[in-house]
C-alpha cells in the first residue's frame, strides 16, 4: 500500500508538470460524458417516463454508473493501456521485479484527468438523491457504499480481462469496448429497460445489474432487502478475471525491445 501511494505521488507530480494540458483534458472528459447527459435530458423533454423510471431516477442511476466507471478507470487505467505496454516490451521489466505484476501495472498509469467525470457524476448523483426525496437510513448508506465498491471492482475486472487477452493477441480487442465503454454508455439507463433477456445477461454472465439495477431499486424503496447485498456478489466476478490473467502471464512471450 505504501508503495502504491508512492506511485500515486510520482504520477501526480508528472501530470502536474503540464498543468494546462491536464486541465484541458479534464474539461474535455467532462464534456464527453456531458453529451450523454444532454441526450438523456432531451429524451425526457419528450417522454415523461420510461418503463417506470422517471428523469430524476434515471439521473441517479447514470450518476452512480458513471462514478463507478470513472473510479475504476482512474485506478485500473494501466490495464487499458496494457496492449501498448506489451507491444513495447515493457512487461519484461515488470516480470523481473520482485513485486506482484498486477500491482505494478496499476501503478504505472493513474489517470487523474478522470476527475472531470467524477465531479459530473457526483453532481448528478446529488441531484438524483435530492430530486427523489430519498430518506436516508443506515441500510441505504450501506447500499450506496456496496454499489460503489462492487461497481468499481466489476469494471476493474472487465479491464483486467481486456488486459489479459492482450497476452494472447498482442493487440487490444475492440470488441471488449462493448463491455467497458458500452456499459458506461448504456448504463445510463437501468438495465431492465433493454428488455428481459438483456437483464438476464447482465445478471448471470456479466453482472452489471447486480451493481446497478437491483440495488437501485432498493434506494428507491421498490426492491427486496437482500438486493442491497448483491454488489458484493458481483465482486466474485473478479475471480475468473484473475484466473484468466494468471493464464495470460504463464502464456507470455516477450515481443522484444
Amino acid at each position: 500500500m505504501r508503495l502504491y501511494i508512492k506511485y500515486f505521488a510520482i504520477q501526480f507530480r508528472s501530470v502536474m508538470e503540464y498543468k494546462a494540458s491536464f486541465f484541458l483534458t479534464t474539461i474535455g472528459q467532462f464534456f464527453i460524458s456531458f453529451n450523454i447527459f444532454l441526450g438523456i435530458y432531451f429524451m425526457f423533454q419528450r417522454f415523461p417516463i420510461v418503463e417506470g423510471f422517471t428523469y430524476s431516477e434515471v439521473l441517479l442511476c447514470f450518476g452512480m454508473t458513471l462514478l463507478e466507471f470513472s473510479l475504476a478507470e482512474c485506478f485500473a487505467r494501466g490495464f487499458d493501456m496494457f496492449s501498448i505496454m506489451i507491444k513495447k516490451g515493457e512487461f519484461d521489466r515488470i516480470m523481473v521485479r520482485p513485486r506482484n505484476e498486477i500491482f505494478q501495472v496499476l501503478g504505472n498509469y493513474i489517470e487523474f484527468t478522470r476527475l472531470g467525470r467524477i465531479i459530473q457524476a457526483l453532481i448528478m448523483f446529488a441531484y438524483g438523491i435530492a430530486a427523489n426525496n430519498i430518506t436516508w437510513d443506515l441500510g441505504k448508506i450501506i447500499t450506496v457504499l456496496f454499489m460503489l465498491v462492487g461497481g468499481t471492482v466489476l469494471f476493474s475486472g472487465i479491464f483486467l480481462i481486456y488486459a489479459s487477452l492482450c497476452f494472447f493477441t498482442t493487440e487490444g480487442l475492440e470488441f471488449m469496448n462493448v463491455l467497458t465503454y458500452g456499459a458506461r454508455e448504456y448504463g445510463k439507463y437501468p438495465v431492465s429497460i433493454y428488455g428481459k433477456r438483456m437483464l438476464q445477461f447482465c445478471t448471470f454472465i456479466v453482472p452489471y445489474s447486480l451493481v446497478q439495477y437491483y440495488p437501485l431499486l432498493n434506494l428507491l424503496d421498490r426492491g427486496k432487502p437482500y438486493y442491497s447485498l448483491l454488489p458484493l456478489l458481483a465482486c466474485l466476478f473478479l475471480i475468473p478475471c484473475y484466473l484468466l490473467w494468471r493464464m495470460g502471464v504463464k502464456h507470455y512471450t516477450s515481443c522484444g525491445s
Binding site: G28, F42, N177, Y189
Partner: protein, 267 residues
C-alpha cells in the same frame, strides 16, 4: 488533380489491409446498434405518440449509422497528421510541390471510405434480415435512394472539411489534444450521433438543422429512412453544399495563414 487521386488510391488500398480489425469492428458495431434500438424501443413502448419518427425509420437510422460509422465519426481523425505537426515532420511534406490542404483532404476521404467499405456490407446484410420494426427497411423509392447516395458523399466531405479545420488550428495551438476533444464532442452531439435530431425539442431542432453539423450524417440517414423528403430534403441538400463550400474556403484561408507563420518544432 492527378497527384491527389494517387494519394487517394494509395490510402484507400492501405486502409483495405486491416481486415481483422474490421471484423472486430463489425461485431462491436452490431452490439452497439442492437443496444441503441433496444433503448429506443423502451421509449416507444412507453409512449408511441411522442415518437417523432416511425419506429422502423429509427431502426434504419441506427443501422445505417453503424454501417457508415467510419464516414462520419469526428473522433476518427488521423493521428499521423497531428503527430507530423507536433514533432516537426511536417517540414518534409512542405518541401513537396503539393498543396497540403488538398493532400490531407484526399487522404482523409480515402481513409474513411476504405474503413467504411470494409465494414458496411456485413452490417447492412445482417440488419436487413432482422424482423420487421427492428431491421433495416429497403429504401422508400428510387429517388430517395439516389439522394441518399449523393448526400452520403457530400456529408462525408463536410465531415472531412470540418476535421481539416481542427488539423490546421493545431498549427497555431501546438498541443492539439484540447481543441480536438472539444470539436469531437461538439460534432457528436450536434450531428445527431447521440440522439437523432428529430428527438430534440422543436425550437432547438430548427436551429440545429441549420448548423454545419446537421449536414454530416443527419441528412443522408434521414433521407434513406424516408424521414426527410420533399421540399425539406431539397433545402437540406442545398444547405449541405453551402456548408461544404464555406468550410473548405475557411480551411484554405486558415491554411494560407498557417503556412505564412509556420515555425518548425525541431525534428
Amino acid at each position: 488533380m492527378r497527384k491527389y487521386l494517387v494519394f487517394f488510391r494509395l490510402r484507400f488500398s492501405m486502409g483495405l489491409q486491416y481486415r481483422a480489425a474490421a471484423l472486430a469492428g463489425i461485431v462491436t458495431q452490431f452490439a452497439w446498434g442492437a443496444m441503441e434500438i433496444a433503448l429506443f424501443r423502451a421509449f416507444y413502448h412507453t409512449d408511441p405518440g411522442s415518437f417523432p419518427m416511425t419506429f422502423s425509420a429509427v431502426s434504419a437510422y441506427v443501422w445505417m449509422q453503424q454501417a457508415f460509422l467510419a464516414l462520419f465519426m469526428a473522433w476518427m481523425m488521423e493521428n499521423e497528421i497531428f503527430d507530423d505537426i507536433v514533432n516537426g515532420n511536417i517540414a518534409y511534406e512542405l518541401c513537396r510541390p503539393i498543396d497540403i490542404y488538398n493532400m490531407w483532404f484526399s487522404r482523409s476521404l480515402a481513409n474513411r471510405l476504405s474503413k467504411a467499405v470494409l465494414r458496411c456490407m456485413p452490417i447492412l446484410i445482417f440488419a436487413a434480415f432482422l424482423p420487421a420494426p427492428y431491421g433495416l427497411i429497403p429504401p422508400v423509392d428510387f429517388i430517395s435512394f439516389f439522394f441518399f447516395l449523393l448526400t452520403l458523399v457530400t456529408g462525408l466531405s463536410v465531415t472531412v472539411a470540418f476535421c481539416m479545420l481542427v488539423y490546421i488550428v493545431s498549427f497555431f495551438t501546438i498541443s492539439p489534444a484540447g481543441i480536438r476533444m472539444v470539436a469531437v464532442s461538439m460534432v457528436d452531439f450536434f450531428s445527431g450521433a447521440v440522439i437523432p435530431l428529430p428527438f430534440f425539442p422543436e425550437h432547438i431542432k430548427h436551429i440545429l438543422e441549420l448548423l454545419p453539423f446537421a449536414s454530416m450524417q443527419n441528412v443522408p440517414l434521414r433521407i434513406y429512412s424516408g424521414d426527410l423528403s420533399g421540399p425539406a430534403m431539397w433545402k437540406a441538400v442545398l444547405l449541405q453544399l453551402l456548408w461544404l463550400l464555406i468550410l473548405v474556403l475557411m480551411g484554405k484561408v486558415l491554411n494560407f495563414l498557417a503556412m505564412k507563420r509556420i515555425r518548425i518544432q525541431g525534428g
